[in-house]
Symmetry: C2
Subunit: 136 residues, 2 copies
DNA sequence: TTATACTATGTGCAGGTTACACATAGATGC
DNA sequence: GCATCTATGTGTAACCTGCACATAGTATAA
């Protein structure tokens, strides 16, 4: 919030949250994209999200695990318990399925369309801002 | 969905909906931006949304009216019944307030950050897609 | 050996948003 | 009279998010 900004925060939708302004269900494609590189377990994916796109934004572990289970129900990923580890609690390793790759591709299409809407909005916003600042 | 794509649709988050992949609460800044041009009534704003950014995506009237009332509660817009019209049902005209302009600016900052996350995601997606297609 | 911290997976729940269906009503044209 | 367009709303089920909390294995240090 800019300093000096007052208002009824309880009603406000636009607040600094975990993600800038979150895209509905974004962690789903994010997890799938990470899994396309390598099979990984939930905790590792959490760290991957954090480091890759969501620097400075906390990632909720429950969302990660729930989303992974959801994706498995859908058949987009499959999981097995990792037996190779010698230290730490057991890990469930996830890998992407062919259906998951297709699903990810569909997500990418949709996100591209979303990005265009966003770009158009921001361009319109900046255009008006420039006019207000100094019309020729 | 690509043809031939099967799955448990009931669980699927990524489906063609009203907006490509919707940004949480996007109509709020969209309405404010439209109102920055001119005071308008709800129905006119609906048509504005439709024509401007959301071509081909239906706009839910209830979302528009509810959002407008929410913005008014927050003090971001103010409304008066339009007495100048001679035809049709009464119109409630909305105009943006100074608080609303500031709020819109904050939204724009957030949406810019969101757009960057999206761009990074799509770039990563395309990079992998290119490698899969034909590595040098 | 107790305590502490880190890794790792998970459940429960309140609060908020969305999409859909539905309600109401003035004006206009046939 | 009746349909249709304009215009403003309510009700609600389903869903997602963020937060708090539960559980447990391993390692390190006091």
């Amino acid at each position: 919030m800019p300093p000096g900004f007052r208002g009824h925060g309880r009603h406000r939708r636009c607040q600094r949250g975990p993600m800038p302004q979150r895209i509905d269900g974004f962690i789903e494609p994010a997890l799938l994209l990470l899994l396309r590189n390598d099979p990984t377990h939930g905790y590792g994916l959490m760290e991957g999200l954090q480091g890759l796109w969501l620097r400075d934004y906390p990632v909720d572990s429950s969302a990660v695990y729930r989303t992974l289970r959801g994706l498995e129900e859908m058949g987009m990923v499959s999981s097995t318990w990792d037996t190779d580890i010698t230290s730490g609690p057991p890990r469930r390793m996830y890998r992407i399925t062919p259906d998951g790759e297709e699903y990810l591709a569909h997500w990418a299409d949709d996100l591209r369309a979303t990005e265009e809407v966003l770009r158009a909005f921001l361009a319109a916003y900046d255009r008006r801002a420039a006019e207000a600042a100094g019309p020729p």
